[in-house]
């Protein structure tokens, strides 16, 4: 089992976004067998809450900086509120952070949440990387015996699971029909009220907060993986400086991803790097400034860090196809096209597209109208019931991974 294979699409932020409420309850300590609402009010003693907050700080910190590392919790059935026999059944993966945020978003509702085994990876990455599959869903349906608890057979899957779970096949194999819910957990209450997914519920976004979160994750993973190289070349003393440069560049690229000059992210990060290098060169002119050797060394390190931040950034964004994985995993580019004769105009490709690649033509056929914004997640390819969407790039590596 390989686990840290970066998905060919993008690192996900979408599924589990929610701004932290002022008072955050810790759900992770509750057990799944909790059948009744807690007898004691959850806002117990303030001092206990403070200690709990301090105690979970290391874990939270780890999860923030090393977001790319899986963090599995035990799969199982979670009762939210007081669910009855007709309550909705939602599914998510057993990534600690995801489950925590989904539970927070569901607060006040009555429903069942199935935490499916997916190697402790978030929904989008797990579905794209072959960890969140039909088998995961079947496993949790069976072990939770949820069929005995409800009188319907309908599941609500997170939309970003569309890259790994074909709902037609799921119905064939499990007898449960599934619909895709919203991308973001915080939209679930609205969705359950109206049973309509608005345009904003089905597309990914990349807010400033999300960008900061993902840049922290990118900084953590880049520092962990690449600090070795400056240490080997220039000595271990350069490590803190290099990590700092990575932090500045990660935050800079993430915050300026829409505004920085340049076509690619290497260019955008390079622009930031050049600013730093220019500063260094300027310092050289000052009397009593740093020596030429110092300037050359840090110029090289800034250039290296800019390259890293630029190549890695798309992998941490929900809006751009992963660039880094091309080096090791081969091209994951998709060039999609709709075979008109086979298209039945069911629009599922549009409804699972995290951006907005497809439009419906006047002849009731779908058109792959916006190839430029395609993130290459492959959701449409997996879901199309008539195989009307084809990948014109002969290399179908992406799909092989998606199917495990």
């Amino acid at each position: 089992m390989s686990t840290i294979a970066p998905p060919p699409g993008s690192r996900a932020v979408g599924e589990d976004e929610a701004s932290p409420p002022a008072q955050e309850k810790d759900f992770s300590t509750r057990t799944r067998s909790e059948l009744e609402p807690p007898a004691r009010p959850s806002h117990a003693k303030p001092r206990g809450a403070l200690w709990a907050a301090i105690a979970r700080l290391p874990k939270r910190l780890f999860q923030t900086v090393f977001r790319v590392v899986p963090f599995p919790i035990k799969p199982g059935l979670v009762r939210i509120g007081n669910p009855g026999r007709s309550s909705p059944v939602l599914v998510t993966t057993n990534y600690d952070l995801t489950v925590r945020r989904v539970r927070r978003a569901l607060e006040g509702l009555d429903c069942y949440l199935l935490v499916a085994p997916a190697a402790g990876v978030d929904v989008w990455c797990a579905a794209t990387g072959g960890r969140f599959t039909i088998d995961s869903v079947i496993s949790i349906l069976k072990t939770s015996r949820v069929a005995r608890l409800v009188n319907h057979r309908r599941l609500i899957l997170p939309q970003l699971a569309a890259t790994g779970i074909n709902i037609f096949e799921l119905r064939k194999r499990s007898g449960w029909s599934a619909v895709f819910g919203p991308v973001r957990a915080e939209d679930i209450p609205d969705y359950l009220n109206t049973r309509r997914r608005t345009e904003s519920m089905i597309r990914v976004s990349f807010s400033v907060k999300e960008r900061l979160e993902m840049s922290t994750a990118m900084w953590g993973s880049l520092s962990l993986r690449y600090t070795l190289f400056p240490c080997l070349i220039f000595g271990w003393r350069t490590a803190p400086g290099f990590v700092l440069i990575l932090a500045v560049l990660s935050a800079g690229v993430a915050l300026g991803c829409f505004t920085l000059p340049g076509k690619t992210f290497v260019q955008k990060a390079g622009f930031l790097g050049l600013l730093g290098i220019a500063g260094l060169a300027g310092a050289l002119l000052l009397p009593g400034g740093p020596g030429i050797r110092f300037v050359i060394q840090w110029t090289a390190l800034i250039a290296f860090a800019s390259f890293l931040a630029g190549t890695a950034f798309p992998s941490y964004s929900p809006l751009w196809a992963c660039g880094y994985s091309k080096l090791f995993y081969g091209a994951c580019d998709l060039r999609l096209a709709v075979v008109e004769d086979q298209c039945i105009g069911c629009r599922i490709c549009d409804l699972v597209c995290p951006v907005e690649c497809f439009t419906l033509a006047t002849n009731r056929k779908m058109v792959f109208a916006n190839p430029g914004i395609c993130v290459g997640c492959g959701a449409c390819l997996i879901q199309c019931p008539t195989d009307a969407i084809i990948n014109e790039v002969a290399d179908d590596h992406l799909l092989k991974t998606a199917h495990g």
Binding site: S2, A5, V69, P75, G120, T143, G175, L327, F328
Partner: protein
């Protein structure tokens, strides 16, 4: 552990049995023979869960049993198919691409006289093991028998810790080798670079993620709790491999 060696062979399904034999020092063949001996009679209906390349199924069918063999791996099933091709026992073996979790929807209660699972439960989570054992009982007729073989931890404490100490690094190496599975390039320099860069993340991931296979804890208890009477138990390889034979109660 087996996964390391599996990767060393080009064509895994075809050589699967050979390395299984090597890995268990020939015990797996012995176990298969023993099961076939006590199970197979003409007409007996057998379900094999996780049939792999179909060696056990073929053994049973050759002795006249009617076998339904399921596996999740399409490659393994193709190999099983190839092996059975053009032999007179083919009609007695039914191969199905199913996971152990899907038995419930496929077979009504009391369909089989015997259920066999060799080294399959250890790949499931604890909840899944209990569920599958429960389903095994359901699909067996009253008085039907279950044969499960799996990895366990030896009871003597010193030996247990010795096995753990040997197993852990092997698990780590297995994990590392499998990390390169999805790499497209076979270029050795690219591969090396990949490992150098990704190593710290691989270590964190290894520590975070539960193993792909694990020794089964409370094996007897689980089988009993699922509604079986234990009628046989045999240890192999210093108590690291155990064969349990249970009879459906009621």
């Amino acid at each position: 552990m087996p996964y390391v060696l599996m990767k060393l062979f080009e064509d895994a399904p075809r050589r699967f049995d050979r390395w299984m034999g090597i890995l268990t020092l020939g015990r797996v063949e012995e176990i298969r023979d023993q099961i076939a001996e006590s199970v197979a009679r003409p007409g007996v209906r057998v379900l094999e869960i996780g049939c792999g390349p179909g060696t056990m199924a073929a053994l049973l069918a050759r002795r006249g049993a009617e076998v339904v063999a399921i596996d999740t791996s399409g490659d393994m099933l193709r190999e099983a198919e190839r092996k059975l091709e053009a032999s007179e026992i083919k009609a007695r073996v039914q191969l199905k691409n199913l996971s152990a979790m899907e038995i419930e929807d496929q077979f009504p209660e009391g369909t089989f006289d015997r259920v066999i699972g060799i080294l399959v439960l250890s790949e499931l989570t604890d909840d899944e093991i209990d569920y599958v054992l429960d389903e095994c009982r359901r699909v067996l007729r009253s008085g039907g028998q279950l044969f499960v073989v799996d990895e366990v931890e030896p009871e003597p404490i010193l030996r247990r810790w010795f096995i753990r100490a040997v197993r852990y690094p092997m698990r780590f190496i297995t994990f590392l080798v499998l990390q390169a599975k999805d790499l497209k390039s076979s270029n050795i320099w690219k591969k090396t670079l990949y490992y150098v860069i990704e190593f710290p993340l691989m270590v964190l991931t290894f520590l975070a993620v539960p193993p792909a296979t694990h020794p089964i804890s409370d094996f007897e208890e689980r089988v009993k709790n699922a509604g079986f009477r234990l009628i046989g138990s045999r240890n192999f390889l210093g108590g690291t491999l155990r064969l349990l034979q249970g009879e459906r109660l009621g």
